[in-house]
Every structure is written in C-alpha cells, then in structure tokens.
Amino acid sequence: MEDVAALEPEARLMLRVREGDDESFGVLLSQHRGPVISFLYRMVQNPAVSEELAQEVFLRVYRARSTYEPTAKFRTWLYRIATHVALNWIRDGKSEKGQQSLDVEVAGVVIEVPDRAPTAEQSLVREARMAEIRTAIQALPERQRAAVLLHKYEGLDYEQIGEALGMSESALKSLLFRAYETLRRRLAHLA
C-alpha cells in the first residue's frame, strides 16, 4: 500500500486519476500543458506541431493511468513521455517537412514584448538574435537538445534529466557539457 500522504501533489493527483477521478486529470492537464508545450516547441520549433505532440503526450498519460506507479517524480515521468514523443517525431523525419513552414512561422510566433513598444530597428535586432539562438539549438543533436532544454527551461536536475532520457547521470553530464560547449562557441558573442 502506497503512503499517499508522503507523495508529491502531482503523484497524488495521478493516483486519483488511476482510481477513475477524471477531474484530477483535468487539473494535471491545466498545470502542465504550458511547460510541456513550451518544451516541445523548443524541441521541434513549430507551434502547431508542438501542440499536436503535447496532445499526444497527455493522451499517453491518460492511457497509462491504470499502470501508473509513483516510483519517479510525476514531472520526470511526464517529460520522459514528452521527450520520447518529440524524439520520435524528429527521427521520423517529420521535422524536415515542418521546417518548410518554419521561416514563415517565425514571424507568426507570439513573442513576449516589453510594455514599451520597440522600434523597428530593435525588433529587427531581436528577431535576428532569436533566429540565431533557434538555429544554434536546432543544430544540436536531438538528445543534447533535449538535455539542454530540460536543464535550462524546465529546471530538472541531472538525475531527472538522465531518467527522462534513459541514461546514467554521468553520461548525461558528459552530454550536457558537450552541448553547452557547442552553444558557447556559437552564441558567446551575443553577450
């Protein structure tokens, strides 16, 4: 029998989903849709595809409810699914098809803008900077990309990222250092 009280809130919610409480699934969906979509967006760099993949992630979470065991943190489990879905999509070569529309979508991406409206020049500089960062991230091998994104944006620790990517902590550290080394070479001038 699990000590439910000792579990993290998300794991408790997931156990309720396992018992048939669909409202708890709705709560988990509301809490995690934003971060999951952001992670997937940075992985595939296509807003429409990232939402589609995020739907798939939550469908898999729901389908797996009956076998769910809170052995790992819920977020680790969730990002493991999300990483798997994203890597599959990239490996299936669908990213190349999506890349055609990427240039068009760059302009359509909703960017958080400061209260003061930027000048046209500032906007152009910002766009160019953004494009450079996107290109540098996109150029990373897919597992390195996932590791950096989980480390930088999702705040997962080495153990969690290793678990999400299915590798040891030491292998993950090595992967992550290589990824940041590449990014330092390409982006250090943006300081």
Binding site: G20, L29, I37, S66, L187
Partner: protein
C-alpha cells in the same frame, strides 16, 4: 579551491554556478577563485552569455482550445467515450485479477481431461440388462409378425389347392 578547469570532473561546479544551482558558500568560493583565474573567468563569462541568450528563446502562448482538443481526442478513442473506455479497462483489469487463479485452475483441469480422453483406448461396453430386455421385446414382436404371416400364407395355399379345398368343402 582547486581550479575546476584543471580537473574536468570539477567542471560541473562551474555549470552549477552559472545555472544558479550552487549552494551560497560554494558559489562564493567560485567567485573568489574566478577573480584570480582568467581561464575560469572566461568560461563563466561565455556560459553566462549563452545562459542569458537562451532566456530570449520564448515559446508561443498556448492556444485557448488546447484543452478542448485533448478531450476531443480522448472522446475519439475507439469503443465509445474516453471515460467509458477507461471504466471498461479498469473493470476488465479488476475482473481478470480477481478471477485469474480460478481461471487458471479451470484451464489446467480442462487440459488434463482432454489429455486423459485422448490417451484412453475405446472400450466396448457389455450390454446392460435393460438394453437386453428392449432387444427381447423387439425380438418377440418380430416373431409374432412372422408367425402370422406364415399362417396366412399357409391358409392361402390351402384355398388355392383344389384337393385341399374339396376336402374342406
């Protein structure tokens, strides 16, 4: 503090420091060291530049209908609505887990029975008393039918024979 750049294994301290995940006392040690180590200072500056640049890589806002789309896809799952399917799956799982031992025993017993039937040779059963009586009864009926037929046949023969008919008359 030893120079993290001299020892590759300690390099992660620098990455922790730049990610803001190092404990305060350890972070202070790194800062003191970086003031006297140009190599570490450069590494930190470059990593901070990358870290800050990545902050600009923002994601688009989630579309308002995202949640509704997830529910639509759950509804579209085969065999009815998603919550019904979930209920069915759970029910099936509970039912099978409850009856699994009994089902296993029934399956073993059935397999044994089939095995015994296949191995045992066919034995001719001796007739029972009841079955013999049934046979006798039919036999009697058959005898009576035959006797009547014989008597009728004989009478017919007598009538047809002139001498026999004359003697009767």
């Amino acid at each position: 503090m030893n120079c993290p750049m001299q020892n590759k294994q300690d390099e992660e301290i620098l990455l922790h420091y730049c990610s803001g995940r190092l404990a305060t006392d350890r972070a202070a040690e790194v800062e003191i060291h970086a003031k006297t180590c140009a190599q570490c200072a450069r590494w930190i500056a470059n990593q901070n530049a990358v870290w800050n640049a990545l902050d600009d890589f923002t994601a688009p806002a989630v579309s308002p209908e995202f949640q509704a789309r997830v529910y639509q896809r759950l509804e579209a799952e085969p065999s009815g609505s998603w919550w019904k399917q979930g209920f069915k799956q759970e029910w099936k799982q509970k039912w099978f887990s409850a009856w699994r031992p009994a089902l296993a025993m029934v399956a073993v017993a059935a397999a044994l029975a089939v095995g015994v039937m296949v191995r045992q040779p066919q034995i001719l059963q001796p007739p029972t008393k009841a079955s013999m009586e049934t046979v006798d009864m039919y036999q009697v009926d058959m005898d009576q039918v035959n006797m009547d037929q014989v008597e009728h046949a004989l009478e017919d023969l007598d009538l047809l024979t002139p001498r026999a008919g004359a003697s009767r008359l």
